[in-house]
């Protein structure tokens, strides 16, 4: 049976939290009402897991998770809307700074929905995960594909803070296994389209919660017989020069970096600078802050598939 992103993430939560002797899942409206559009379905049925509907107090809820982790109790804070996580930044920053080196004894996962579906208004459409990753010094896992989700939940078995982000736009979309060859790196999943060894090799790197634009670009390029690697970043954090991922990226003739976040500072910029120093041929697409972001709008990505593909074709 095909599952939506919502259903698949919910399944992963069930699997992970069924395995603990004691655990807590908490958040607003998670075991009543819409259960966060279904993300919280059946959480109160998990054995040995306390599923709590909480007060509307994000700061306290972030701290609650740290307290549980200090006490060896795994937990998940399931929250609709990334923008509300701003209220917990003191905990994500100051508390995590004191505790992150060895004092946290169980996983504490914060799963945020990034409301990128449009028409929600300037505040509800926050998508500034780079700043969160930087302030908290914790990677953010992009739940942008089935493989990303699998890997993120695997990584979140380690004690400590784990921030996850899911696209609202994706929630009702089907979350299926890829039919492509998949390479698992620590920081990313690499999807290999059928290689045509005669044609240049192109890497399409995605930093973001929704991989649809990067996937479309990859498919277009593949249709043009390019040898394409779609690289879905899993962990939004610094990518080291010595990493397997950096090596894999540099094996391509052309690199296209697509960043769909709304941050003003980007980890993708840092990677691009490193790649440029390495002599790689790169196109970078990032969203630029505009007055449009201050009013209700469709929240459409400002760059389109065709122009990205055309630029690549010109640049090789």
């Amino acid at each position: 049976m095909e599952l939506t992103f919502t259903q698949y993430v919910n399944t992963k939560i069930h699997q992970k939290f069924s395995s603990y002797e004691h655990s807590v899942i908490f958040g607003q409206n998670i075991v009543s009402g819409s259960r966060i559009s279904g993300l919280g379905a059946g959480l109160d049925q998990i054995n040995n897991c306390l599923a709590l509907n909480t007060t509307n107090s994000e700061n306290s809820l972030m701290g609650l998770g740290f307290g549980l982790s200090l006490s060896e109790t795994p937990s998940l804070f399931l929250m609709k809307q990334h923008d509300f996580a701003l209220l917990g930044l003191d905990q994500l920053t100051n508390t995590h700074n004191v505790l992150r080196h060895g004092r946290l004894l169980a996983p504490f996962i914060v799963l945020m929905v990034v409301v990128d579906s449009g028409f929600e208004g300037p505040q509800a459409s926050l998508s500034s995960l780079d700043e969160f990753a930087s302030l908290s010094r914790a990677p953010i896992y992009f739940l942008s594909s089935k493989e990303n989700i699998d890997r993120a939940f695997e990584l979140a078995s380690e004690p400590g803070l784990h921030l996850m982000a899911l696209s609202q736009k994706n929630m009702k979309n089907i979350c299926a296994s890829s039919q492509l060859q998949v390479i698992n790196c620590d920081e990313a999943i690499i999807y290999k389209y059928l290689p045509n060894k005669e044609k240049p090799k192109i890497a399409v790197l995605l930093f973001g919660v929704d991989n649809s634009i990067a996937q479309e670009v990859s498919e277009e390029l593949s249709n043009k017989n390019y040898c394409v690697s779609l690289i879905n970043i899993i962990k939004l954090s610094k990518i080291e020069l010595s990493s397997k991922l950096f090596y894999e990226i540099t094996q391509h003739d052309k690199i296209v970096v697509i960043d769909t976040g709304k941050s003003d500072v980007h980890f993708s910029t840092e990677l691009v600078l490193k790649l440029k120093e390495n002599g790689n041929n790169i196109d970078l697409y990032q969203r630029n802050s505009s007055p449009k972001w201050s009013v209700v709008n469709d929240d459409a990505i400002e760059f389109d598939v065709q122009s990205i593909v055309q630029n690549i074709s010109k640049g090789i």
Binding site: H22, V24, L50, L52, T54, T55, S57, N59, S60, L61, M62, G63, L64, G65, F66, G67, L68, S69, L70, S71, E72, T73, S75, D90, Q91, N94, T95, V98, L99, R103
Partner: protein
């Protein structure tokens, strides 16, 4: 008639004062690079808490934690070394003063951010409850930190989830160099707590006998009922000073951090009244001696 426990506490309070004054001397000599917040005048509340504290309890502290560290057994050498960031310090010289924690005595978190430790206490208390461990969480705070919205959130959530937490508010009436009347309206914490179905008690005058019995009762009640409580303790941070404002007026500034410049008498007493726990302890054990 003074009880053996009171006598022991009087002695302990004197030692805590003496150690703080020794550390103060080192501060005046410039031996530390880190900021240190002394707690001269706060000794009684910490000494009494250490008496009623169960090994199953957890303790969450603030930037001003020296009195609790001393009351819970830290030695002068361990603290001095920690403040000098030496590996022989209480936290191996890694945490300094404002975040100093000692998991060996149940102090698993200390925060120097005002109001930051409340919510961490919630998680620790929830874990105790979940695992049916018969302990309570003592989260220490002050009259400045309860102005943060985090206090409201934490008291509400602790009451809603029925968590075994005691919010211990050390009310010294000051936030940095600003007194309560200079910055806000009075908060009636008893009414605030009552509005959220949370119990409330208050203590003052460094009466260790009363402190002990009240703390013990609160601890037992919170452990048995898993209902939070707020305990407000009036304290006087000694070591304040006067600054000249106009030609003929001067303004009292409360001690906040760093070295205290006034020299106390040899017995360590700063005030000859109940605002000073050392005076109170000595007076109780030897009435009229001062």
């Amino acid at each position: 008639m003074i009880t053996p426990v009171e006598s022991k506490l009087a002695e302990k309070i004197k030692i805590m004062r003496k150690i703080q004054l020794n550390i103060n001397k080192k501060m005046l000599e410039g031996q530390f690079q880190i900021p240190i917040h002394l707690a001269i005048g706060h000794e009684a509340v910490a000494a009494c808490l250490a008496e009623v504290f169960s090994p199953r309890d957890k303790l969450l502290l603030t930037h001003r934690n020296i009195h609790f560290q001393l009351a819970f057994g830290a030695t002068e050498q361990q603290l001095t070394d920690e403040y000098m960031l030496k590996p022989s310090g209480l936290a191996l010289g890694k945490l300094g003063s404002m975040n100093l924690m000692n998991p060996n005595i149940g102090n698993i978190y200390t925060s120097n951010i005002l109001g930051n430790n409340f919510s961490v206490a919630l998680g620790i208390a929830l874990s105790l409850k979940l695992r049916k461990q018969d302990g309570v969480v003592w989260v220490i705070t002050g009259d400045g930190a309860i102005e943060e919205g985090a206090f409201y959130e934490a008291v509400l959530l602790s009451s809603s989830l029925k968590l075994p937490i005691i919010f211990l508010v050390e009310n010294n009436g000051w936030s940095l160099g600003t007194s309560i009347s200079e910055r806000r309206t009075q908060i009636d914490i008893s009414k605030f707590a009552d509005s959220m179905n949370v119990g409330f008690k208050s203590l003052k005058d460094n009466d260790t006998n009363n402190y002990l019995s009240t703390m013990l009762k609160i601890r037992e009640h919170v452990a048995a009922s898993t209902q939070p409580q707020v305990l407000e303790v009036e304290v006087h941070s000694l070591g304040g000073f006067y600054v000249a404002e106009d030609q003929d007026s001067k303004r009292y500034i409360n001690y906040h951090a760093g070295a205290i410049k006034i020299e106390p008498g040899e017995n360590g007493i700063f005030e000859t009244n109940c605002t000073d726990p050392v005076f109170t302890s000595l007076e109780n054990s030897n009435p009229g001696a001062h």
